[in-house]
């Protein structure tokens, strides 16, 4: 090292051959200061009103759960096939409206209006959930088989294809289901709310349920990728697609299954989100954006990265709406932009993304 530095210095210009690139230290100090400021601000607000802090924190966590379910499907497809599925938001929206329509049919239109006082039986919620997920999964599969399979490796073209399909799905969804914002009724077997321990606060049960589902989805995906033969092939396929197929493994089958699974996760997100928040005609843009941000923050193709990204986005989203100074709360979108800038400034490939 010293010899190299001396040589470079001898050329009249000192070149650092190891260590951080220039400017990185200043950047790190700036980032640390920003994070410290945010932490102090949140701590100050939390000290002033701990009840709000708990509720807003739980809102953020449960929102993060929903975001993770949606984005995990997006990142799964990208990680294996390098396909950016721009139709992901449209699939989310389609599943929401489809499940709502099914539930209305099943309950005769009684259960869909009020959130909290549910009239829907367990089946009136579970059947739409399963059917909508499968339907959206099949649409994803058809999309992959018909349009994407023979364009493998052409990333931009595949992205354009999924954008086109996303437009068509979103437009047809609105044409058939009307696009009026409504929520699905949660099953009446679920309690409306739960009491939080160590306080006299109550919290909507369904939001907690979404968080639990997200954790279950995350753990199953992790177990599937790390512990099963299918996951082994998926991991090998991420590293070297051609080698895997040269070994006699039917990689096309794996691709098709992964695409199906990714679309099913978009559908699951759509039904959960449609029950927790609502189904809305702006869902396609909204959840495409959320998927994009989560994987840009977390790193493309990384499941743990998607969890971190979803957590960061959910918490910023939730706290930003409440903790900004009064009169500025509608600027909360700038916080998300700031989060994105912060991450990209330090790690252009995302927090857990692999460089290159």
């Amino acid at each position: 090292m010293s010899g190299q530095t001396a040589t470079a210095a001898g050329l009249g210009r000192r070149v650092r051959l190891t260590g951080l690139p220039p400017g990185t230290l200043a950047l790190r100090v700036a980032v640390t200061l920003v994070i410290a400021f945010v932490a102090v601000w949140v701590a100050y607000k939390a000290y002033g009103d701990p009840r709000t802090f708990v509720i807003v924190g739980l809102n953020g966590l449960t929102l993060a759960g929903l975001y993770f379910v949606v984005a995990s499907g997006f990142t799964l497809i990208f990680g294996l096939m390098r396909v950016v599925n721009m139709a992901h938001g449209s699939l989310y929206m389609l599943a929401g409206f489809f499940a709502l329509e099914l539930q209305t049919t099943l309950t005769g239109g009684e259960a869909t209006s009020a959130f909290g006082s549910s009239e829907a039986g367990l089946g009136d919620w579970l059947i739409p959930l399963v059917v909508a997920c499968l339907a959206v999964g099949v649409i994803g599969l058809v999309m992959q088989q018909l349009f994407l399979r023979w364009n493998q490796g052409q990333e931009l073209r595949q992205a354009l294809i999924t954008i086109a399909i996303g437009i068509i799905i979103a437009d047809q969804t609105l044409a058939h289901f009307g696009g009026i914002a409504e929520s699905l009724a949660p099953p009446d077997a679920f309690p409306d709310s739960v009491d939080l321990p160590f306080s006299n606060l109550t919290y909507p049960f369904f939001r907690i349920f979404v968080l639990l589902v997200a954790i279950a989805v995350g753990l199953s995906l992790w177990a599937m990728i790390q512990r099963t033969r299918f996951g082994m092939i998926v991991r090998a396929g991420v590293d070297d697609r051609q080698m895997v197929s040269a070994l006699g493994i039917n990689i096309q089958l794996v691709f098709a299954s992964a695409f199906f699974l990714g679309a099913v996760l978009a559908g699951l997100g759509g039904v959960l989100g449609g029950t927790m928040i609502s189904v809305d005609k702006a869902n396609d843009t909204q959840y495409l954006l959320i998927s994009l941000i989560v994987v840009i923050i977390g790193g493309m193709g990384s499941l743990a990265g998607a969890a971190i990204g979803a957590l960061a986005l959910g918490l910023v989203d939730s706290f930003g709406d409440v903790y900004l100074p009064a009169g500025y709360t509608n600027y909360s979108i700038l916080l998300i932009f700031g989060l994105l800038v912060l991450v990209l400034a330090i790690r252009p490939q995302g927090l857990l993304g692999r460089p290159g």
Binding site: E155, R157, A159, I167, D171, T285, L289, L334, F337
Partner: protein
């Protein structure tokens, strides 16, 4: 390529191009005021928006979906600073407001370029799309800047006159702006800076090894793209006399992408070719009852067909025709098939340029 083939090829590129420009130059005499304003002028400013995307894609290898957001920043800045209903209560001269809009868009472009320029290919596309959609949500939420449902009755410079009653002025302004953008980009491509950008497109690591600051070059290119996009944003405000968050939502971003892809993502002329096709289609489908309000499905199907069948868009189809005719007329054996440009995220460098 032998001499006669080259002559035929040049004639086939320049002939229709000159005819197109000539027809446009006298368009106010040929078309009704409605058609002039609703189709031709609209196509011209949409074409400028698409040109900013094509400039980045074709010359720098950056496919950006943030161009509509940048034009929105220019438009909203201009609309808020000039007197308007629903915006900030400031009344700058419309020209000063226009200049401020352009500066704001270029500033935003340089900043976004700085954070996105270290990402390549599909990552870059995702980041610019995320930034673009965030910009839409920003204007949708911050009603101090976007009014409730938009900034209306924006005061325009006197020369624009009334774009509905008197559409010729705005038409000629848009035509001159389009020509200026086209000639500027074609000129830029031959300067050392433009050549460096094309070098970055073809091989960033080799350019880095040669001592070029690749992220800086990409950032500056993105700023230039923002400059071009800002012209489209300003013209759209003059044309609409208003701007609302709906003017820059995801659907508009996709519209501009569709225009660029229909025209041809790797040829600058494609921007306006695609824009005319799009504006004419838009105008035509509005009259059809069968389709009703489902214009987006039509756009989606056409977009899908173009991407699947001819990734080079209409310009790609024309390229195949001219190649075929040039070979036929000069009696040359068929050349090797050219590479598929859209699939590789960069154009085939051996594509002949009409020069």
């Amino acid at each position: 390529m032998n001499r006669s083939a080259l002559t035929v090829e040049r004639a086939l590129w320049w002939g229709p191009g000159l005819l197109f420009v000539l027809v446009l130059a006298v368009a106010p005499l040929l078309f009704s005021d409605f058609y002039l304003s609703q189709v031709i002028t609209k196509a011209l400013w949409l074409g400028i928006a698409a040109a900013s995307l094509i400039f980045l894609a074709a010359y720098v290898g950056m496919v950006s979906l943030g161009q509509v957001a940048l034009y929105g920043i220019a438009g909203f800045t201009m609309a808020n600073l000039a007197a308007a209903d629903g915006g900030s209560p400031i009344a700058w001269s419309p020209w000063a407001a226009t200049l401020a809009g352009i500066v704001a868009a270029v500033g935003a472009g340089l900043f976004i370029g700085a954070i996105a320029s270290r990402s390549y290919g599909i990552y870059f596309l995702m980041i610019t799309l995320a930034v673009g959609v965030l910009t839409f949500y920003f204007f949708a939420q911050v009603t101090q800047l976007s009014g409730f449902g938009g900034v209306n009755n924006v005061t325009r410079p006197g020369i624009v006159s009334n774009p509905v009653r008197d559409p010729q002025n705005l038409f000629y302004i848009a035509l001159i702006a389009s020509a200026a953008v086209y000639l500027f980009v074609r000129y830029l491509a031959r300067t050392p800076f433009g050549l460096a950008l094309q070098g970055v497109r073809d091989d960033p690591s080799r350019m880095r090894a040669l001592g070029y600051n690749v992220p800086l070059l990409r950032m500056l290119a993105f700023g230039l793209g923002a400059l071009i996009a800002s012209f489209a944003g300003i013209l759209s405000v003059w044309w609409n006399t208003r701007i609302s968050p709906g003017s820059i939502d995801l659907a508009r971003t996709i519209d501009v992408l569709v225009i660029a892809v229909i025209g041809g993502l790797y040829r600058l002329e494609g921007a306006w070719v695609g824009a005319f096709a799009f504006a004419a289609l838009d105008n035509w489908t509005r009259g059809l009852d069968i389709i009703g309000q489902r214009f987006n499905t039509v756009v989606g199907v056409i977009f899908l067909a173009i991407v699947l069948v001819s990734p080079g868009g209409l310009m790609g189809i024309w390229q195949s025709i001219t190649d075929f005719l040039a070979r036929r007329l000069s009696g040359r054996p068929p050349a090797q098939p050219s590479a598929d440009p859209a699939g590789e995220a960069r154009p085939a460098s051996d594509t002949p340029q009409p020069s």
